[in-house]
């Protein structure tokens, strides 16, 4: 995939979330949502390394991963609108959605809890000899959760085909990660599990793709898990209602100069800028089509509220 493809996919994620914010403001989406604005290069770069059958597990900030994995946009909007979506039937909403059809094990509202589950997907791949890998993303704050530690050690001793992508966006929810750990880079912890760990520029899809491909190749050939720490910045709050009083003045404005879409724009000549404009227009139209289609999805039948507890 080239730069234009990356741009299109990152723009799709950005525009999706901007539209989501507008829908929330208009009262069409209940509950809080956690946006990945500014972090789009990580799922886009990482998913370049994947093929059909590779499972992806994300955090509650996982819209970008779902979209990069090819989950249907209408389904995503409908699920977040609380409608009877083809994804989760209105039972999961933004922070817990999944799609087995796209090998998207899903998001998770419990910080770090997806890592043990992703380890299980890696176990299936190993024991069935499918050749698949399991990629799991977490935020920087999740590195302090016990479940992540347990799963990494487990994956390491079993040589499972697992790739952990740490999206370090500086903030552990609403507190600076530098106040929460005594290591300079979270990838340094990889050594504690006997695993390789790398730090990459998470605002550069090529850098992410190169590092994740190396980790995925290693996993596929049976050499076990890896950790990739992708450095990025959050352009928005922890959740939709976060006023971000804890962030220093000018921080977000500066981040806007470094975010992945702006970078491509800044380096573009007139010809490329025109092509990017065209992509933006196409993406906007695509998103509006999905919103319209999602609005046509009915709300779940209240009579089904107790269905699917058991098989």
């Amino acid at each position: 995939m080239g730069q234009l493809d990356d741009y299109r996919l990152m723009a799709r994620i950005r525009r999706f979330e901007e539209r989501l914010t507008a829908l929330k403001d208009a009262g069409e989406i209940p509950g809080s949502i956690h946006l990945c604005n500014g972090q789009e290069a990580i799922p886009v770069g990482a998913c370049r390394a994947l093929r059909d059958g590779d499972h992806v597990t994300a955090t509650y900030r996982g819209h970008g991963w779902a979209i990069a994995r090819g989950v249907d946009l209408t389904g995503l909007f409908a699920e977040m609108m609380g409608r009877d979506s083809a994804l989760c039937g209105g039972r999961a909403a933004s922070p817990y959605l999944s799609d087995p059809g796209r090998w998207f094990v899903g998001e998770n509202s419990i910080v770090g809890a997806g890592v043990p589950i992703a380890t299980g997907a890696a176990l299936t791949a190993q024991r069935t000899g499918s050749g698949a890998v399991s990629v799991v993303s977490i935020g920087d704050g999740a590195m302090n959760q016990g479940n992540v530690h347990e799963a990494l050690n487990l994956a390491a001793v079993l040589d499972l085909p697992l790739v952990l992508v740490v999206e370090n966006n500086v903030y552990s929810e609403m507190s600076r990660i530098s106040d929460m750990v005594r290591v300079r880079q979270l990838a340094e912890r990889a050594a504690g599990y006997g695993l390789p760990g790398r730090v990459v520029d998470g605002n550069d899809p090529d850098a992410v793709a190169e590092a994740v491909t190396e980790a995925v190749d290693r996993a596929r050939e049976g050499s076990g898990p890896s950790i990739v720490e992708a450095m990025t910045e959050r352009l928005v709050g922890h959740y939709s209602g976060d006023a971000q009083h804890y962030r220093p003045a000018g921080e977000i404005a500066a981040a806007r100069q470094r975010e992945p879409l702006a970078r491509i724009r800044q380096a573009a000549d007139a010809d490329l800028a025109a092509r990017l404009d065209a992509i933006d227009a196409e993406v906007s139209a695509e998103i509006e089509t999905a919103v319209t289609a999602a609005r046509a999805v009915p709300h779940p039948d209240p009579a089904t509220a107790e269905e699917h507890v058991y098989v």
């Binding site: 499972h55 890592v115 589950i117 024991r127 016990g146 050690n153």
Partner: protein, 326 residues
């Protein structure tokens, strides 16, 4: 065909059956492979099925229960062993938030066909962190099936049922029952999930029990028969799905109900049975419902203290006498 087996041997036989009959079944937990399990439940399985099918995990219940879920979602049928039920508490996020919810939250698109096997209850000298009876926590959680086999035959049949089920099942055995011996129907067809059983018919009072308290209830019934009190004993077997019909039918005959469990009284599953009976059997009841349970204290280790905390046959018999004389 039936064989005389100890309870723990019946568990081993059920696991052998599961690993033999389904190649997608894997078994893991702490010290289950080479060591054969702390109670011998998995003795010989590693030698027979190899490290691909049965393997030891690090001491990390959250990690390996989450791994069981991910493996179940993607095509395997894992059985994960929690050595002592008390250790399940360190993994409650994976059990309650993850394993129990994924089928519902995906509107049925993911399944979690896994078994969490554990043993629970007191044993002489065991401290408060090796004696819990946590069945009510699991039965309280929508999405989990909960099985508590009380006999060697049920240890065999119910574990096989759990393995075949497409829902996540917690199988909680009673450690104190492991040495007990009984006939096990090794060639019986696999039973469906659920179903209580009248294990002793009687006319004067219904005692509903499960796990170790079933044998305590039967012992009490023997003593009470000599006193002219005819006790019906119902082994609930599964707390989820709850077969309340068998309880209600029994109470409609006897008019009296005693519920007996080893777990602490407050919020125990006995409260659920009592509440259901009060709502659904009100006109059949001739006496207040009685509950037999441990008092609300953590389990002491000293035998002299355990003797007054752990409910036994005599505790059940006392409750029945009070109920019949009420």
């Amino acid at each position: 065909m039936s064989e005389s087996l100890r309870y723990i041997q019946a568990v081993n036989a059920a696991l052998t059956w599961a690993l033999d009959s389904r190649t997608d079944t894997i078994y893991f937990g702490e010290d289950v492979a080479l060591p054969g399990g702390p109670f011998g439940a998995t003795k010989g399985l590693h030698k027979r099925f190899g490290s691909e099918r049965i393997f030891d995990t690090p001491i990390s219940e959250t990690g390996f229960l989450g791994m069981a879920l991910g493996a179940a979602m993607t095509g395997l049928r894992p059985i994960a062993e929690i050595m002592y039920a008390d250790f399940s508490f360190v993994a409650m996020d994976q059990i309650v938030n993850q394993i129990a919810t994924i089928h519902y939250s995906s509107a049925g698109r993911w399944k979690a066909p896994l078994v969490i096997r554990m043993q629970q209850g007191y044993s002489p000298g065991a401290c408060a962190q090796h004696s819990h009876s946590p069945e009510a926590y699991f039965a309280h959680t929508a999405g989990l099936r909960v099985a508590l086999p009380a006999t060697p035959d049920d240890a065999y049949q119910m574990l096989r049922t759990a393995v075949v089920s497409d829902d996540p099942v917690v199988v909680a055995e009673a450690r104190m029952l492991y040495p007990t011996r009984g006939q096990v129907r090794t060639d019986a067809p696999v039973e469906p999930v659920g179903g209580a059983r009248v294990v002793r018919p009687g006319t004067d009072v219904t005692v509903v029990a499960w796990s170790r308290m079933v044998s305590a209830a039967l012992d009490a019934a023997g003593t009470l028969a000599e006193e002219g009190i005819d006790v019906e004993v119902v082994d609930l077997r599964w707390l989820n799905p709850l077969d309340f019909d068998t309880v209600a039918t029994s109470v409609s005959r006897t008019g009296r109900l005693v519920v007996a469990h080893e777990a602490n009284l407050t919020g125990g599953f006995g409260a659920e049975i009592a509440a259901r009976a009060a709502a659904e059997c009100f006109t059949d009841l001739r006496a207040p419902i009685a509950r037999v349970a441990a008092p609300d204290v953590p389990m002491p280790a000293a035998p002299a203290l355990q003797a007054v905390v752990v409910p036994e046959a005599a505790t059940v018999a006392d409750a029945v006498r009070r109920t019949v004389r009420a």
